[in-house]
């Protein structure tokens, strides 16, 4: 039975339970709702919760666990001898899964009877051809051990599903009956329902937190794994980045410094663009612009914030790069060799960050109390004196926070760098040289066909971890500054 149907059945049981629970509550109070402890619908909801929650919990756990259990039991069916020399158990298991899917497809399309799919022997029949006819992607001749395993796999999966359906429906009905049995006039249904709702919300929050912890842990474990294969001091202090993809290990040099340098150089160029423009436009919008100008200009800036970064990347590659090249390139000043350079990526990233800086600063400037401005005007200060000497100093901590948040975005930015800055990891001071960043290298380390257990691939986790620590530090510092100084003006 498909999972979708199963869900519908459980919901139907719950709906029926609601109606029964509600009317039973009313009849236990002789039809007078005032004699009930809670409103009648609480009794109904109590039944609904008891019918749904345990059933769905079991279903989720079962759906997660069944593949693991089936795989481990099927895997035992494959003898050592059936695994070719240049292969592994994992690869053979993948073939078993494909064969099982193929059998399913063949039965569904009428190419095989169910009986044939269950019992056929690969050495006597043309199973491989018939699977291919049914559209299954079977690479080589299906061998007898693989077919046996695939058949077993199908059977186990099918029984597992049937058992799950039975268990879930039974649990749902039992839950509903339990809820209905509880339903009496003096039963505190409201409290039970409120507690359940709280549990639900706590569960949601814990899932969010646990996911974050899981991501961090996986980063940490893989980073530790990387440092087992590659010395940490070479990673942190190495000045050369030249991974080798052909020979595994050995000849690779994986020093992070050129990447960090590229990251910071490009981010600094970006901030040099974004901070003055963003801050000045925020000052204009919040202090000078009439409400009509503001109502047009603010949404325009926010549109800029909604452009996907890949579009900025294209802009860097196709417009800004060639433009810079025509001025600073071999035909101009001769400082620049190609369109991809720190300058190209930095400028475009700066444009991307303008709305970020300006809308944050705008909020912060608006939060400076009007009484502060009045005080300054009341002493005969002009508008620009007031802004320079009173409003900006009061807003400064918030603005610093905004700039730190913007830099952590700049450091994490990928697409603009991939398209605008080039792929060469270099320690160089010339902003018209191609350089690359940590994020861009994470992409290139994982998109090649490197073995995921090699240091060349695992280094991506170490890079990710480094980046994570840096941006986390920046964000925490930014929040600290914003919090610390905000209290002063309230």
């Amino acid at each position: 039975m498909p999972v979708f149907w199963l869900i519908l059945i459980v919901l139907a049981i719950a709906a029926a339970g609601f109606v029964v629970g509600r009317s039973r509550a009313l009849s236990s109070a002789e039809g007078d709702a005032r004699k009930l402890h809670s409103l009648p619908s609480f009794y109904g909801n109590n039944v609904v919760i008891k019918a749904i929650v345990p059933a769905f919990l079991v279903m989720i756990v079962w759906l997660l666990a069944q593949p693991l259990v089936v795989a481990s039991s099927v895997s035992g069916l494959i003898p050592e001898s059936a695994i070719p020399d240049n292969s592994s158990r994992g690869l053979v298991m993948a073939e078993v899964r494909r064969a099982a899917d193929g059998l399913d497809a063949a039965v569904a399309s009428g190419g095989m009877t169910e009986d044939f799919a269950r019992n056929a022997r690969a050495d006597f029949n043309d199973v491989t051809e018939r699977l291919q006819e049914a559209g299954a992607i079977v690479t080589s001749q299906v061998t007898q051990p693989v077919l046996r395993a695939a058949q077993r796999f199908r059977v186990l999966n099918a029984t597992g599903k049937t058992l799950m359906s039975g268990a879930v429906i039974a649990l749902s009905i039992l839950g509903a009956l339990w809820g209905i049995r509880e339903t009496k006039a003096e039963f505190r249904a409201r409290n039970t329902v409120e507690t359940s709702i709280r549990m639900l919300l706590i569960a949601a929050a814990s899932i969010a937190i646990l996911t974050t912890v899981g991501i961090v842990l996986s980063l940490v474990f893989n980073t530790v794994e990387f440092f087992r294969l590659y010395p940490a001091s070479d990673f942190f202090f190495g000045t050369t980045w030249s991974p080798s993809f052909s020979g595994r290990g050995g000849s690779s040099e994986l020093g992070v410094l050129p990447l960090l340098w590229g990251t910071f150089y490009i981010s600094i160029v970006a901030l040099l663009v974004a901070v003055p423009i963003g801050l000045f436009s925020a000052i204009y919008l919040s202090e000078y612009a009439s409400s009509r100008v503001r109502s047009v200009a603010k949404p325009m800036l926010e549109v800029l914030a909604g452009i996907p970064t890949i579009v900025y990347g294209l802009f860097a590659l196709l417009t800004v790069g060639p433009l810079l090249l025509s001025v600073f390139g071999p035909n101009g000043l001769g400082w620049m060799q190609a369109g991809t350079a720190v300058m190209t990526a930095g400028l475009v990233m700066g444009i991307m960050l303008i709305p970020f800086v300006s809308s944050l600063s705008d909020d912060i400037i608006n939060a400076v109390p009007q009484s502060m401005r009045d005080g300054s005007y009341g002493l005969g200060a002009t508008q620009s004196e007031t802004i320079r000497q009173v409003v900006l100093p009061a807003a400064l901590p918030g603005i610093v926070g905004a700039i730190l948040l913007a830099s952590s975005r700049a450091i994490g930015e990928t697409m603009i760098v991939v398209l605008g800055a080039g792929a060469a990891a270099k320690l160089d001071l010339n902003p018209f040289e191609a350089m690359t960043t940590v994020t861009a290298k994470i992409v290139s380390q994982l998109t090649g066909d490197a073995d995921f257990a090699s240091p060349e691939a695992l280094v991506a986790f170490a890079l990710g971890m480094t980046l994570f620590v840096i941006t986390l530090g920046l964000n925490v510092f930014a929040l600290y500054i914003v919090r610390k100084y905000r209290e002063q003006y309230e």
């Binding site: 009439s290 109390p369 502060m372 005080g375 002493l379």
Partner: protein, 266 residues
């Protein structure tokens, strides 16, 4: 005797008129907040504005130093003469006017700067000091006039926002005094203060009237009676009655004034 009467009248008239207001109207968009106000505000005198909330006291006060210019929807009509010169004239720079007509607000609003820089703010933007020594002198003199010098002289570099409410308000008064204004406008300067701080500020106002014309908006009848020589009663945007403070409180001419000071409206 007759002569005595004339003498006191001459005495009052001898006080120079600072503000001459004729037919002043103030509008917030369509809301006619101040209607036909005529009033003469005297030099070296404390004038109190009293009246129920929303009657336009703050609005009128703010039109005396053109603070209403900072509110886009606000419009002021009529003549407001300061020393015979129309302050709403195109020739008059509101920035210079506000240096002459200082203002203290309801809520203490020290700048997020050191105590020293708070006081030095006005003198610096108006270029009142030629060097650091002169500026130091202005700061000390202003803090003394604000009756707060003894409390802060050892921590002039501490932030002004770290002072207590009453100290902050006296700091703001000292700040306003530092630009050497001729008139000091105070909008409910004590409403955020405790009784002790209020007493300190009232004492200060009494001292200030030796040098300045002070206009104070207050909700407290006792305060108006204690600190002011002249009182103006506003009601629904009209100036109902304007007279010596004694007269207003002992012998009000208008029914509305009497009701307000005896607590029947407000």
């Amino acid at each position: 005797m007759m002569k005595d009467n004339i003498d006191t009248k001459v005495g009052v008239d001898a006080m120079e008129t600072k503000f001459n207001c004729r037919d002043v109207q103030v509008y917030y968009a369509d809301n006619h907040a101040i209607k036909d106000v005529n009033v003469d505000i005297l030099d070296k005198t404390v004038t109190a504005f009293i009246g129920p909330s929303g009657c336009g006291k703050s609005t009128f006060l703010r039109s005396l130093n053109r603070m209403n210019d900072t509110i886009p929807i606000c419009r002021v009509e009529g003549d407001i003469l300061l020393d015979g010169e129309d302050i709403n004239d195109a020739k008059v720079d509101p920035v210079q006017l506000r240096a002459k007509v200082g203002m203290v607000f309801q809520k203490p609003n020290p700048f997020p700067k050191s105590i020293y820089d708070n006081i030095a703010y006005g003198p610096r933007i108006h270029g009142l000091a030629r060097n650091k020594a002169e500026l130091d002198e202005i700061v000390e003199k202003s803090l003394r006039r604000g009756a707060i010098w003894d409390e802060v002289k050892d921590r002039l570099d501490a932030p002004g926002t770290g002072l207590s409410g009453g100290q902050q308000q006296r700091l703001c008064i000292a700040r306003a005094v530092a630009t050497e204004p001729e008139v000091l406008l105070m909008d409910e300067p004590c409403s955020a203060l405790d009784p002790i701080a209020t007493a300190q500020v009232e004492e200060l106002i009494d001292e200030l009237k030796a040098n300045y014309s002070v206009v104070i908006v207050t909700h407290s009848m006792q305060q108006a009676a204690r600190v002011s020589q002249k009182t103006a009663f506003f009601h629904l945007g009209n100036l109902v009655e304007y007279d010596d403070t004694n007269e207003i409180f002992t012998n009000p001419r208008d029914q509305r004034t009497e009701s307000y000071i005896t607590g029947r409206i407000g």
